[in-house]
């Protein structure tokens, strides 16, 4: 999977409240399917289905050898997802910081000329 596909899989996996709750539970430590099913009033197969989605997204791994096959949370895809969101925030923060500067200029113009914005529309 490339980075974009991976993000798609991560975000799609996180779009479900049960899967987020499963991750929250696993954030506290490993758990078997049985232990995960308990608090959700869900059947084991239903939980297994959610786990498969999380596994495909790389958010959960399962031990192959132990009989109870405990599930474990995998942090890396989440880090990638939050990094991506952080970029989105940064983009808007940068845009709006420039807008702050522009507005200060427009306010100064308004103070001296009266109608600043109209005088700027012919710039290009």
């Amino acid at each position: 999977m490339n980075s974009s596909d991976r993000l798609d899989a991560t975000f799609a996996a996180l779009a479900d409240p049960t899967r987020r709750a499963i991750l929250a539970r696993l954030a506290l430590g490993e758990a078997s399917v049985l232990e995960l099913a308990e608090p959700f009033a869900m059947s084991q197969p239903a939980v297994s289905k959610h786990l498969k989605v999380l596994e495909r997204a790389g958010l959960v791994s399962r031990s192959r050898d132990a009989q109870r096959r405990p599930c474990r949370i995998e942090i890396h895809p989440l880090t990638e997802a939050t990094d991506w969101l952080e970029e989105y925030r940064k983009l808007w923060e940068a845009n709006f910081a420039r807008l702050d500067t522009l507005l200060e200029e427009l306010k100064a113009d308004a103070a001296s000329h009266g109608n600043p914005a109209d005088s700027n529309t012919k710039e290009d």
Partner: protein, 164 residues
Amino acid sequence: MNAAPNKLVVTAHGDREVRIIRTFDAPRRLVFDAFTKPALVKRWLTGPDGWSLPVCEIDLRPGGKFRYVWKNTEGTEMGMGGTYREIDAPDRIVHEELFDEDWTGGQTEVTTHFVEDGGRTTVTTAVVYSSTETRDAVLKSPMESGIAIGYDRLEGILAAEPVK
């Protein structure tokens, strides 16, 4: 107003909506102009470092089109355009938009509100995506409100994870 002065707030509403809220230290008329006059828009809506907005065409009336093209120093271009649905200057704009690359999985509907209070203006941009998946791709994060305790725990874990 919940937002601290000049702090950018990004929140999720319903299944398909993201709201971006920011307050500016300027009267509404100026902020509205800065959002709608091409010569002004070009000066701030330039995106990441190294990018500019050489094409900015705005036909500000219901049914009017707009077109933005960003370009970086290597010549890579990214275009986006759409149609205005409602214009209620300087209070509210409703438009539809679509990136040329369509990374949002279809058209998004955007409503921008400008509210002035004591010479300061709060702009709320509500973006409604075509699907929950797309919205979540834009927003999903452990910081999101409403995901409750579980996510706070995850956040703690993420914070503990060394930066790559």
